[in-house]
């Protein structure tokens, strides 16, 4: 019998049974919730007189709407205040542990799960947020779900699911200097397309991924959904175990050793059979920047903007050019920017802030640029400050903020104005994503954002490293 993938193994051990629809009822080991997608789900529980089935496997935080400058309650934004109150009432009423604004554990849900050691290999995890795939970096099957599914997980700790196929993506060789995990995932999405992962779980591997630390792997897994894949993961290895050891929710002593045995056992077998297999070379990958309105519309920084006819969907490319106001054939280098945003669940971790600070150190943000650094969690902020990263950023002219999602989706006061162009370390360049319907977003690595902030335009970060 051919070996099995991590996906197969976890799927099997978490299957409760087959439903009359033919779907599998899958047990969810960890449920993370936040203020945005949960209120109607709790309402539905109340209407039906249901409780939270596995309270101790449910954790809540607040991230999307949190102001990152003045955090004082009540929030100035009345709607945001109502939403956080709704969450506070719900977690109180249903007895769910909550990392609120005053908690040292508060932060973006995909940053705090790993940071607290809640996210572990061999587990299923769900969260009402499409970037839940981030947790796959640990060898976790992590699903981004909608509100009706949040209701199902609250009420039953299970989901009705269809099994996916598995595509193994190998990144072989090594990355050049100045090329970061963000470039790797943008490259993968560019090559396979924004819908290319539909029906697949992505298993990332190869020498480049093996060498990455956990924070870097999280960046790659985070954007799986931008490639259309509901799930993305990396097999757990020594790097994973070393990261987890000693974290608050990770077992200690003998139990840790037993955990490691279990974690090792869930990794894909060497002879595992995949539904598809692709290989890329690390050296093919340049610092990558998006020029359009979806994360697949990107080029290497030294390239020129592509012609619409080069795409299977020329109309989509034309629509992107219409929104961005650029011309095919123009160089990516030198594209002016107005705003620089470093943060989000993609690139708001300590490794990301370090990479950006390295570029910013001893230099100045271009006076025409509004530049923001928003740590992914309160703990990331604390650790960064302990190393003095905030001083480097502030001296360079970046604003240093409190933790939250911030300008990744602009549900708090951090927004683009009018036609502003933002160099952003976040994950989505959709029209209107950063708060202005006319605003423009260019996705890139945090180091590239920092370099762009200094110059007021897109530059090649390799000149700085």
């Amino acid at each position: 019998m051919a070996g099995r993938t991590l996906y197969d193994k976890i799927w099997e051990s978490h299957s409760v049974g087959i439903l009359p629809t033919g779907q599998t009822q899958l047990f969810i080991g960890l449920h993370l919730i936040h203020e945005i997608t949960t209120a109607p789900a709790f309402d539905m529980l109340r209407e039906n007189g249901m409780d939270v089935a596995f309270r101790d496997r449910t954790f809540a935080t607040v991230d999307h709407i949190v102001p990152t400058d003045v955090r004082q309650r009540p929030f100035l934004d009345r709607e945001a205040e109502e939403l956080i109150q709704a969450l506070e009432n719900n977690v109180n009423q249903f007895g769910v542990e909550f990392f609120g604004l005053d908690s040292v554990n508060q932060g973006i849900v995909h940053v705090i799960g790993p940071q607290l050691g809640l996210t572990q290999p061999g587990m299923t995890l769900a969260c009402g947020d499409s970037h839940t795939s981030t947790h796959g970096a640990f060898g976790t099957l992590a699903f981004g779900i909608g509100t009706s599914q949040v209701r199902d997980v609250l009420a039953t700790q299970t989901l009705a699911m269809d099994k996916l196929k598995v595509r193994r993506i190998n990144i072989n060789g090594e990355l050049g200097t100045g090329v970061y995990p963000k470039d790797v995932i943008l490259y993968i999405i560019r090559r396979l397309g924004v819908a290319g992962g539909k029906g697949f779980a992505y298993e990332y591997g190869g020498a480049v991924i093996d060498k990455m630390n956990m924070e870097e792997r999280m960046t790659v897994c985070n954007m799986s959904i931008e490639g259309g894949a509901l799930v993305g993961y990396v097999n757990p290895d020594q790097t994973t175990f070393d990261y987890l050891k000693g974290r608050p929710h990770v077992p200690k002593g003998d139990a840790f050793d037993r955990a490691v045995d279990y974690w090792k056992s869930v990794a894909s077998d060497a002879d595992a059979k995949y539904d598809d297999l692709v290989h890329y070379q690390g050296k093919e990958i340049e610092p990558t920047v998006t020029w359009g309105i979806n994360p697949g519309q990107s080029v290497g920084v030294s390239e020129k903007l592509p012609k619409p006819e080069e795409f299977a969907d020329p109309d989509g490319a034309k629509k992107a050019y219409e929104h961005m106001g650029w011309q095919p054939g123009a160089p990516m280098l030198g594209t002016p920017i107005n705003v620089a945003f470093i943060g989000s669940c993609t690139n708001g971790r300590l490794a990301d802030l370090r990479a950006a600070a390295k570029i910013a150190k001893g230099r100045k943000v271009n006076p025409a640029v509004r530049a923001l650094v928003v740590p992914g969690s309160t703990e990331v902020k604390r650790l960064a400050e302990r190393e003095g990263l905030h001083e480097i950023f502030q001296a360079a002219g970046f604003q240093w903020r409190e933790a939250g999602c911030s300008m990744c989706l602009a549900m708090n006061p951090d927004k683009l104005n009018g036609r502003e162009i933002c160099a952003s370390s976040s994950n989505r360049n959709f029209i209107g994503r950063q708060g202005s319907p006319q605003g423009r977003t260019m996705l890139m690595s945090p180091a590239m954002v920092a370099a762009a902030a200094l110059n007021g335009k897109v530059v090649d970060v390799r000149e700085y490293v």
């Binding site: 009359p20 629809t21 309402d43 039953t156 029906g199 509901l230 955990a259 989706l409 549900m411």
Partner: protein
């Protein structure tokens, strides 16, 4: 589960929205996610594409009086990509859309639709072009989506539709609101959980 409607047939006029990769931020801008319920989502679908910053109507099929009252939406490829926000299908549903017919759908979006009892069904590229043209030429055309026979028909035309068999069963047999069904297995859920070593903190 007798109280969950069995959805087998959706009939009515249609409205086309052309373009691939239409993401859920476009379907419902994030600022409307601050509302604690879905109740008013029907006021907001495609808001920034339908209204300018002064609130003036722009050219958009959802503003076009010819398509008023449409209950079937025609779309192209990878519709509903991006954010998992269920507010997107809720906004369409509450606007009056009771079935979506397209070339393909993003995974989370299609799942969200199904769980609300909103069928998202797939047709071939040439067929969606034919359907879009038919409604653009004659907006009053009546269409009928038949989930049991897997067809969409209008006039004398009949076109094959497709959707995952599990979704089709959920819709036509009334299992799309899955909570009660899942909850009926709670004992089995607990047994599955008890076998997972992390559920007991790796104590043995």
């Amino acid at each position: 589960m007798a109280d969950i409607a069995e959805i087998t047939k959706i009939s009515g006029t249609a409205v086309p929205i052309r373009g691939n990769d239409i993401d859920t931020d476009r379907i419902i801008p994030a600022r409307y996610l601050k509302e604690p319920t879905f109740a008013r989502m029907g006021d907001y679908p495609f808001f920034d594409e339908r209204f300018d910053s002064a609130g003036k109507k722009k050219d958009h099929p959802f503003n076009d009086p010819e398509y008023k009252g449409a209950s079937i939406l025609f779309v192209n490829k990878n519709f509903g990509c991006g954010s998992s926000r269920e507010h997107a299908p809720q906004a369409l549903y509450r606007f009056g859309i009771k079935a979506i017919v397209g070339e393909s759908f993003a995974a989370i979006f299609a799942g969200n639709c199904t769980m609300m009892g909103l069928p998202a069904v797939v047709v071939a590229a040439k067929d969606i072009e034919q359907l879009m043209k038919s409604v653009e030429d004659f907006p009053q055309t009546e269409y009928s989506v038949d989930l049991e026979n897997k067809t969409i028909s209008y006039g004398s035309q009949k076109i094959a539709i497709d959707l995952p068999e599990t979704y089709r069963t959920a819709l036509t047999k009334g299992f799309w609101d899955s909570t009660a069904l899942l909850r009926s297995n709670l004992e089995q859920v607990k047994r599955t959980a008890a076998k997972l070593p992390y559920m007991t903190g790796f104590t043995s």
